[in-house]
Symmetry: C2
Subunit: 127 residues, 2 copies
């Protein structure tokens, strides 16, 4: 069926890498409160989610977990028109968590860079 076997099912396709959904969601919330559906829409516009859009379920689960962890607060909001929705707001704890994410991701970024360097390293004929 496939013309070229490729590596679609291989980890090297990147499908198993962390999607970084939680920090992405927090990055949106740091600009102001949003409801889940809007977060989902905004994530879809991010370059890193173009290839594979974020899963609805996953986003709502992350929001739920962040509420449980106290990183965001949420309140039901009724609209003049349309179904009720939850407005999520980053808390002080959430801001601290986000600071930790920054450090973690900067480290992670350099880890990825060092792997790339390693991968590019070839066995040089010793001269």
């Amino acid at each position: 069926m496939k013309e070229f076997p490729g590596f679609q099912d291989c980890p090297c396709s990147g499908k198993n890498l962390s999607r970084l959904l939680q920090p992405a969601v927090m990055a949106l919330l740091v600009q102001g409160p949003l409801h889940g559906y809007r977060i989902l829409e905004l994530l879809k516009e991010e370059a890193m989610f173009k290839a594979q859009p974020p899963d609805q379920t996953g986003v709502y689960k992350i929001l739920k977990n962040m509420v449980l962890d106290g990183h965001v607060s949420c309140n039901w909001e009724t609209q003049d028109s349309g179904p009720a929705r939850k407005l999520y707001t980053l808390t002080e704890t959430g801001l601290s968590c986000l600071d930790q994410w920054k450090k973690t991701l900067v480290d992670y970024h350099s880890s990825v860079a060092s792997i790339i360097t390693l991968l590019n390293r070839k066995l040089e004929p010793s001269r």
Copy 2:
């Protein structure tokens, strides 16, 4: 017990991010055949595994998977002294997979960078 609650158990600590073990292992094997235990030792020396050394079991599992996928071949090797061990060698398929990893990781690297940029974005008071 803890003086500062911190975020040790929070995803923002980075403990749940993909460890990139497979490409790291392949990066070592591209330089020449190695046995599992040696791979483990070499990984421990990498900066990215200093904070949390790679899991032994995990490394052997990845090697096993790579053998199943045809990315590496392995042969039992008996030593004059010491237990028998497996020597792992990157195959041609493995080299192609590694090329795919390079592309994937370069993309991933820029995704992580863009998240960091997003995280640093603050709600500027419009002036």
